[in-house]
Amino acid sequence: MTQTLRTDAKVERIIADFPILARPTSRGKRLVYLDSAATSQKPRAVIQALVDYYEQYNANIHRGVYEIAQRATDEYEQARVKLARFIGAKTSEVVWVRNTTEAINLVAYSWGDRHIASGDAILLTELEHHSDLVPWQLLAARTGAELRFIPVDARGIHILDDLDRLLDGCKLVAISHVSNTLGTIAPVETIIPRAHAAGAVVLVDGAQGAPHLPLDVKALDADFYAFSGHKMLGPTGIGCLYGKREILEAMPPFLSGGDMIRKVEYTQTTFADPPRRFEAGTSNIADAIAFGVAIDYLDALGMPWVREHERALTGYALERLATLEARGLAIYGPRDPERSSGVISFNFADIHPHDLASILDTEGICIRAGHHCTMPLMEKSGWAATARASFYIYNTEADVDALYEGLEKAARVFHV
């Protein structure tokens, strides 16, 4: 597959929608943003949606009877409808949260404390981000449950040979859809039915999945799916927890207070139905509405196009960077773009990733360096740190070429 990204008029139009990509760096360089796995850039329409809310109809929701309060409520709930449609869920199954981390914590406390007991197993993978690891460590400590891990091979590909044994006695499986460190796409279509057959509930950490892959939570049959707005063109501070209706209905509240109640007396309260049962206090109204606009943007592009664009770009980058392997470039993670989603982790000779990132920064190139919130994976793999380039809809072959040239510069500076 050799899609010619460089001359793709659609990508040129996309780039024009992102004001930040037109701003040169302080050194006068073109901004080459290769850190979308950390947070994506935002199109003008999303930024404008925030301004519109605050300038035109700033009001609290679900309470006011006046015109702007009604509009705020409508736009906020309409965003939920868009999100539900985008992931293939019912509207009542979409809970607003701050981010993926909060979504996972909500499940760990509200569902986990009820259903996980001493002797139960919780199955994760060796690729998990700290946000899909630490909450389960705490749940295991509270309940006496045992943590198990689906292993990965040297390329970060899941090894499922022992899955039946790992699932024996397992009550919960929590897996990231896509590894933020290596880009590996998890075989969720294989793991989920087998987890269900073993009697386990499945949570998918979709922080790197929902922004990049076509998604249908019903077809996937995930019980929970968690993701953040800011990695998919939306603002920070807003995310989504999808949960199957019957599971959410049986769950107690996580945080409590205003807006999550049906009736309150001095000594007792009956709670609202999901999703509002899990949305205590004034919500992040503006950011939820703007997240809805981000969804409109992705919908207009079409997620199959997003996936194909990133697949082609990852393939091009892997091909281009491979020519530096003879000079000491080590590429980690899957080498097949079919199994990877727009993330390339690497090290270059004896140049520390932070030094590499600093040198690339002088050329306007933004990459991430460090442990990527996956310290156990780094330890297991024997990497002190890695450099990571990650792609999204606005990246082009020219960005990959800039990365390549930046690496050549680093090689000159470090005499490698």
């Binding site: 932070h354 030094d355 040198i359 002088t362 002190a384 740190a385 500076v413 470090f414």
Partner: protein, 129 residues
């Protein structure tokens, strides 16, 4: 920032001076840079309140390793009380200009660990004093 990586910095990064450990050190400290996980351990041998020998170990970026290597070259014979008072210029004079604000903690890690060893508890970050 690319101007920072001069040949003598790379030399200290690839061939750090006083690298290793001491048998039965009289004082030691170790810390990590929370930004990037760079790790430095400093061990001191003392004689009459003065540093008679020093070693460091650890791993990390060129900035943290070279800064530490260069700093430690000048501390032998120094009184502990003076080490505790070393300003951040003690590092900046060695490595010169060009360190970006986000990398300053890398440069200051060795000085912080050296001062921690001298005062027997974790010292403040030199750039926060």
């Amino acid at each position: 920032m690319d101007d920072f990586y001069r040949d003598y910095i790379l030399d200290h990064y690839r061939s750090p001076r006083n690298f290793g450990t001491l048998e039965q050190p009289d004082a030691s400290a170790e810390d990590v840079n929370p930004l990037c996980g760079d790790q430095i351990r400093v061990e001191l041998k003392l004689d009459d309140g003065k540093i008679s020998d020093v070693r460091f170990s650890g791993k990390g970026c060129a900035i943290s390793q070279a800064s530490t290597s260069m700093l430690l070259e000048s501390v032998k014979g120094m009184k502990l009380a003076d080490v505790a008072k070393l300003p951040k210029d003690a590092v900046l004079e060695n490595v010169g200009i060009g360190i970006s604000p986000t990398r300053m903690k890398c440069a200051m890690l060795g000085l912080r660990v050296l001062k921690s060893a001298a005062i027997g508890r974790l010292a403040d970050w030199p750039d926060e004093e």
